[in-house]
């Protein structure tokens, strides 16, 4: 078991290292932060002074190694826009993003999974078609379009809710709904497929033939087996809690990590971008580990296989 986790951790560290390197190369080769941050009309000597102060006049390889060395010592760097510690900037924004993504995740699970189960249990019926129609619509409409449609209806025409900002709980309703609807649609489709596959398995037919009540067949035999692919999708959703609302945050002017990422990338504010990427990578890794645990819990075969390989 210990070896299993050590390997996972090593793989995660390599992944994070690659992400950091890739981001460094792409961001540094595609733009000069001095010119972008100070603007095209700024004095050339101001741009030169900025470059010197932030080491941007050094050879790229030297910038890379000094940056990587600093990360290895736990120093994530400072924002070139105002000199603040990148970690502080990102940490300030995390609560705002989680205030959207966690309720949205609850909505996704609370609506998506039951809808998928209902559709599967009523395959071919009007209910199934209706659920799938809504699911396809929710799945295919981009979040920025859905967000603007909700704003037009609930803010402009009905005047019930604010169109953007973060001043009260009411401001969170539309962005949460936008995130939740799209995610619920995805989960509904996956859950339905998984359920249909399981419902066609011999052990379900056997249980029914033995006279086990249908309700018990579904809850006791079908659902646990259908949960595995759904848990995988939910794992991805949990992994994107930190930076999974980039578009929605922009549409609703919500000051979360997503908007910070957009601003930081457009300014080539490397330390801030890297800090967010590290957090996202770490969240994904943790989320994947939790999913691995859950696989073992949900499917005893995996648990036993994992136990043997780890012993």
């Amino acid at each position: 078991m210990l070896r299993f986790f050590a390997l996972r951790l090593l793989r995660a560290l390599i992944t994070i290292g690659l992400v950091v390197t890739f981001a460094f190369v792409v961001l540094r080769l595609s733009g000069d932060p001095a010119l972008i941050i100070l603007g095209p009309e700024s004095a050339p000597e101001a741009i030169a002074a900025f470059r010197k102060a932030w080491g941007l006049d050094e050879p790229l390889w030297r910038q890379y190694f000094s940056y990587f060395g600093a990360i290895a010592q736990g120093e994530l760097g400072r924002s070139m826009r105002d000199g603040r510690a990148a970690m502080d900037l990102v940490a300030e924004r995390i609560p705002a993003t989680l205030a959207l993504t966690i309720p949205a995740l609850i909505i996704k699970i609370g609506i998506g999974i039951p809808a998928g189960i209902i559709a599967a249990l009523n395959r071919g019926s009007l209910t199934d078609r209706l659920v799938m129609l809504l699911s396809v619509a929710g799945f295919t409409v981009p979040s920025f379009v859905l967000g603007l449609v909700l704003v037009l209806i609930f803010a402009v025409h009905l005047g019930w809710l604010p169109s953007g900002g973060q001043d009260s709980w009411r401001h969170a309703i539309l962005p949460i709904a936008t995130l939740g609807i799209g995610g619920a649609a995805v989960l509904a489709r996956f859950t339905r497929s998984a359920m249909l596959e399981v419902l066609g398995q011999p052990y379900v037919r056997t249980a029914s033939a033995k006279g086990v009540p249908w309700r018990q067949v579904v809850i006791g035999h079908a659902l646990p087996n259908a949960t595995i692919p759904t848990v995988t999708i939910i794992g991805f959703m949990v992994g994107s809690l930190i930076a999974g609302a980039v578009v929605v945050e922009s549409v609703f002017s919500w000051p979360g990590v997503g908007r910070l990422l957009v601003v930081a990338v457009s300014n080539r504010d490397l330390a801030v971008v890297q800090c967010i990427l590290l957090l996202v990578a770490a969240t994904m890794v943790v989320s994947n580990l939790i999913v691995d645990f859950l696989y073992g819990f949900l499917d005893p075969r995996l648990r036993h296989a994992g136990g043997r390989s780890g012993s």
Binding site: L38, P40, A46, V156, G164, V251
Partner: protein, 545 residues
């Protein structure tokens, strides 16, 4: 003898505690001035409210006229010409010295009175110039010791460079008395008054600086003299200003102003229509009609002191011959762009100059005529063989940039120029040196009322175009020197004319497309007038009056 019960003691005690609150409550009740929210695309780029760090159009909007003020102000609702500000009068002592009388009774946001000490500190090494020296000073006469910056109080690296660009030859400021100062330059300079009125020469409280723990603390809440003071600044999110009731220009008409950052146009418009915002800024021209379909709303705004240009790299193999660059300038139907993309709400200006230059403005100067035949003839004379010429553009960095660049490309192609439009992501990609660099977009502002502020600063020897190696011209560079140092107005006027001839006709460095414009949407019921600038004026007299 009166009886004192426990209840009466409690009541008296409660009344005593509440007493100081009653008048305040009464005042608060009487203060029914409105609070407004303004949706903007960006509050500031640099995350600070320092006029020397944030040198941008968006910065101008939140700084002026609410927060920062200079000794010589600007006629914000007129033609932006200089007018008394924190100084009531000024006079020339000699070609290098201007004496200013400070307005008495001006209060900073911390309650201090503005004096000559604050003015000197504003232009000090500690605040502005760090260890830089005046460009042309002939004697080493430091007017103050270069201070060792307090830990955490060091200036960001670009500030001194920006300050020296604004004040290249400022030697020192002498205090004549508590309300009189003298600005002394190293060289004769007729633009000193203009420089005093420009973005970046604004006065701050010395005590406000001293009491701030760090530069960042100060720059997030600068103590200035404007009619509104900073209550809260959340970078990339919002800026809340509150009325400064001791403002020298009278009681501000608004209780508070809140700028909120709403990056998406559709969201800004939706917030305006739903009543969440009272103003929505940065409205693209194609949205004006849509907004004004609703009779309760209107879009104000128009031209600002900023011209859109197309810039040439004369080192490019195809553009080395000025005849080819001249062909570019004659192939553009500027008026068509103004009519189709701007709904006629801007104009084609008289080259890189503005009316507020006064007697330096050449009213008879024009941009090159739109004449495809001339363009084709010029290309024939140049022997241009149709080799590709790269035109680098950004994705709508400027309003209407995408459609403008597409139209320009087609106009150029129609006269035989093989222009290849190349969309890139940022300015460093635009300016990246190499044989492919040829044509690009830009805009130029005039921060004060003299050509030095624009054609010299942007296209002269120290300007960006020459610094990045796009263009140079020996005669132009000599004329820049004349414009910067001569006090002979006639000579300066002639020199400027010659510079326009060189840069826009003989050896084109750029060609002016149109004047830029900015548009702000608001409810018609709000009585407010827009300025011909990004600045938004909420001083007494321009809101609800």
């Amino acid at each position: 003898m009166s009886q004192t019960s426990r209840r009466s003691v409690l009541l008296l005690g409660g009344a005593a505690v509440a007493a100081p609150l009653v008048p305040r409550f009464a005042v608060a009740q009487a203060d029914n001035r409105p609070r407004i929210t303004i949706a903007v695309q960006k509050i500031v780029n640099s995350n600070v409210l320092d006029v020397l760090r944030e040198q941008s159009n968006v910065g101008e909007r939140v700084f002026y006229t609410s927060l920062w003020e200079s000794l010589i102000g600007r006629d914000w609702l007129g033609n932006l010409a200089p007018r008394p500000g924190l100084a009531t009068e000024w006079r020339r002592v000699n070609d290098q010295t201007v004496e200013l009388k400070l307005r008495q009774g001006v209060k900073f946001h911390n309650g201090d009175e503005m004096t000559a000490e604050d003015v000197v500190f504003t232009f000090s090494r500690e605040r502005m110039f760090a260890n830089t020296e005046a460009k042309n000073r002939s004697t080493i006469r430091a007017f103050e010791q270069i201070p060792t910056p307090r830990a955490g109080k060091e200036l960001p690296p670009d500030i001194a460079a920006t300050a020296r660009r604004i004040w290249p030859d400022l030697l020192r400021i002498d205090i004549v008395d508590r309300y009189t100062v003298r600005f002394i330059n190293a060289t004769p300079d007729v633009t000193l008054e203009g420089r005093l009125s420009r973005y970046g020469s604004d006065i701050m409280s010395r005590r406000g600086w001293d009491e701030a723990a760090s530069y960042l603390d100060w720059a997030r809440k600068p103590i200035t003299t404007g009619p509104y003071k900073v209550v809260e600044f959340r970078p990339d999110v919002s800026l809340t200003l509150e009325a400064h009731d001791e403002y020298w220009g009278g009681r501000p008409p608004l209780k508070s102003i809140r700028f909120v950052e709403v990056p998406e146009v559709a969201s800004r418009v939706a917030g305006l229509l739903s009543g969440q915002y009272q103003f929505a800024c940065d409205i693209p021209p194609d949205q004006i009609g849509e907004i004004e379909k609703n009779a309760a709303f209107e879009v104000q705004g128009g031209t600002i002191q900023n011209h859109r240009l197309t810039v040439f790299d004369k080192n490019n193999a195809q553009l080395a011959n000025p005849l080819v660059r001249r062909a570019f300038t004659h192939a553009i139907d500027r008026q068509a762009i103004v009519e189709t993309l701007w709904a006629g709400r801007t104009k084609v200006p008289a080259g890189l100059q503005w009316e507020f230059y006064g007697d330096m403005f050449h009213a008879d100067w024009k941009v090159p005529d739109y004449d495809p035949k001339i363009a084709r003839d010029l290309l024939r004379q140049a022997g241009y063989r149709g080799d590709p010429i790269v035109y680098r553009v950004l994705n709508n960095y400027y309003t209407n940039q995408n459609p403008t660049s597409q139209i320009l490309t087609e106009m150029w192609r129609s006269v035989g120029l093989n222009v290849q439009m190349q969309t890139v992501e940022n300015w460093s990609q635009i300016m990246e040196r190499g044989p492919a660099r040829a044509v690009r977009d830009w805009s130029n502002s005039a921060p004060f009322n003299d050509p030095v502020s624009s054609i010299v600063n942007q296209h002269g020897p120290n300007g960006q175009q020459q610094q990045i190696g796009e263009w140079t011209n020996a005669e132009m560079n000599q004329l820049c020197e004349v414009l910067e140092t001569s006090t002979d107005r006639d000579l300066r006027r002639k020199s400027f004319r010659r510079m326009l001839e060189i840069c826009e006709r003989e050896d084109p460095a750029y060609t002016v497309l149109h004047q830029n414009a900015t548009f702000t949407a608001k409810a018609k019921s709000i009585r407010w007038k827009t300025a011909p600038a990004f600045a938004m004026d909420f001083r007494p007299g321009n809101y609800g009056a």
